[in-house]
């Protein structure tokens, strides 16, 4: 390994770098270690969440109905926390260190603080998981008061958020220092710009979470009171905006994957950066759609936040929806795939897991997750969908089919680079995005349709077998629930395939310098 030590401008200390033989990036070894631990922790959270997902999916499949009611609600809480918070944020932190350091040839600022951030996040994550499993926090990811959890649950949540805030600050400091020390020329790469967007959104997201959760912690300890409406406003400033962090990170990764797999170049940097900028300004207002059917908020507030402002963020997404495929098309046409309208698409490297993950992610997010979100965010339409399984269908298409799948595709490139090992079981990697993507398409569409027929979310028994006042259920709902169960099983298989490849690469692949970026050639 070629290692070089570069002096730091201000502190006089030296950071040790290695030069990646493939990309010629200089990688700060301290940052690399943090990338590895954060990514591995993220994958462990994904594994836990995935196991819970399978059990939950098999419970909502009416003919299987695997879990008992307490276990169902408990694992649903754990599933939400592990997937929406721990897997995403740990992976994003790994992504921030990768973008801020490897892509900019920069050193990591505050290595010790970065480890403190990791320790806080890990401690928080473990605490939350343990408390949930002790059955003391059956309150779901959203933890609406006055439904009360053990104080330690909120403590874990807050610890994690503080750690994540710290990691974002370290990333920002790293960017500043990279500029000051002149580690790169001109403007930062688009991918890093996207990650910067994500980090900025993350900062006010996490602060909003702190505003929601600290009074709640005090209330759970018997100090003061929490207004359910005010909690929801602040909580969703965290809960939904956190998904916008995922969105920004995902789009940064889309651009990256397009570059890595077909050599695509952003069609117009200005337009793409403008679209990211729209996110910073407007997308946090999307979280308002959770509150549309709440009592206590006026018409004006509901309309301002869900219509004009939110649609500006939608405009940002529509711009990306054009510029990413356009970049791919341009690159493919330049390579000579000029036949007909879609010759470039048919001849694309579909066997590359990075590319198929990118395309499935684009499709599931673009055609299922995004449009359903636009519909759900529209004021009056929220009446039709609030808290039904349509919501669940929507965010499984965005966060899982979109973000998680993009992260998986990204992992196929980053893991060989940072582990310095070739990818394990490439055949499995090749098929993984297909299995996972198809499972999620089935899952999210059937969830949405079941919700359209009235299926409530977070509900153990949609057949309503033991209720005092009997209710009528639309017969087609049962079929949709069954389809969603099948989709969940297929998706869980795809998730397991990813875990096998990722963990296998770390454990079973021989360590060596990768010869090429492509996981199929490495």
């Amino acid at each position: 390994m070629a290692a070089i030590a570069l002096p730091n401008t201000f502190s006089g200390t030296r950071s040790v770098f290695r030069v990646c033989p493939v990309t010629t990036f200089k990688v700060d070894l301290a940052a690399e270690r943090l990338i590895i631990v954060n990514a591995v922790t993220a994958i462990v959270a994904l594994l836990l969440g995935g196991i819970y997902a399978l059990l939950i999916g098999l419970t909502r499949w009416p003919d299987v109905h695997l879990l008992s009611a307490p276990w169902f609600y408990r694992l649903l809480t754990a599933h939400g926390m592990n997937m929406l918070v721990f897997w995403m944020v740990f992976f994003e932190v790994a992504g921030l260190y990768f973008g801020g350091n490897a892509l900019l040839n920069a050193r990591l600022v505050g290595v010790k603080l970065a480890w403190v951030a990791y320790a806080l996040m890990l401690g928080g994550a473990i605490l939350v998981n343990v408390i949930i499993m002790m059955g003391r926090a059956d309150v779901m990811f959203s933890a609406y008061p006055p439904l009360k959890a053990d104080p330690l649950f909120y403590v874990g949540y807050i610890l994690f958020a503080v750690g994540a805030i710290l990691a974002c600050c370290i990333f920002l400091a790293t960017l500043v220092m990279a500029k000051v020390e002149g580690r790169y020329e001109g403007s930062m790469p688009l991918a890093v710009f996207g990650l910067l967007t994500a980090a900025i959104i993350a900062l006010f997201t996490l602060l909003s979470g702190a505003v929601a959760l600290i009074p709640t912690l005090l209330w759970s300890l018997g100090i003061g009171n929490v207004d359910p409406g005010a909690y929801r406003v602040t909580f969703w400033g965290f809960g939904h905006s956190a998904q916008q962090v995922n969105l920004s990170a995902m789009i940064a990764i889309w651009y990256t994957l397009a570059t890595l797999t077909v050599g695509a170049k952003p069609v117009n940097e200005k337009l793409s950066r403008f679209a990211f900028f729209l996110y910073i300004l407007f997308i946090n207002l999307g979280s308002m759609h959770h509150l549309l059917t709440d009592p206590g908020l006026g018409t004006a507030a509901k309309f301002f936040n869900t219509s004009y402002a939110m649609y500006l963020a939608v405009l940002g997404s529509l711009i990306h929806a054009f510029s990413i495929p356009a970049a791919i098309e341009t690159a493919m046409r330049k390579k000579g795939y000029n036949k007909g309208l879609f010759g470039w698409l048919l001849n694309a490297p579909w066997k590359e897991p990075g590319f198929s993950a990118l395309m499935f992610s684009l499709f599931i997010f673009g055609f299922i997750g995004g449009p359903t979100g636009v519909v759900l965010g529209a004021g009056q339409l929220s009446l039709l969908a609030h808290n039904t399984w349509r919501i669940t269908g929507h965010f499984h298409a965005t966060v899982v089919g979109g973000t998680t799948l993009a992260f998986m595709g990204f992992a196929y490139y980053v893991l060989p680079l940072v582990f310095r090992r070739p990818l394990f079981a490439k055949k499995i990697a090749q098929w993984q995005p297909w299995v996972y993507g198809i499972g999620l398409i089935i899952l999210s569409i059937s969830m949405t349709l079941a919700g359209t027929l009235g299926a409530p979310r977070r509900h153990w028994d949609v057949t309503f077998s033991n209720v005092t006042i009997p209710v009528q259920v639309q017969p087609l709902m049962n079929l949709m629930l069954t389809f969603s169960g099948i989709g969940a099983v297929i998706a869980a298989t795809g998730g397991a395939m990813f875990i096998i490849v990722a963990v296998g690469s770390l454990l079973f692949s021989p360590k060596r310098d990768p010869k090429a970026l492509s996981p199929l050639e490495a």
Partner: protein
């Protein structure tokens, strides 16, 4: 490619994105129609 603007020809993408718009419109209006059949609520 000239340097004045970044205008490559991407007919496939144009078709795909306009399909996307149609699809969003279909979902959006489909839901408004459903809503108009429900009770009066204010």
């Amino acid at each position: 490619m000239d340097n004045k603007h970044s205008g490559p020809e991407t007919p496939g993408t144009v078709v795909l994105t306009f399909l996307l718009l149609l699809w969003i419109g279909f979902l959006y209006f489909g839901n408004w129609i459903t809503l108009s059949q429900a009770w009066g609520i204010r």
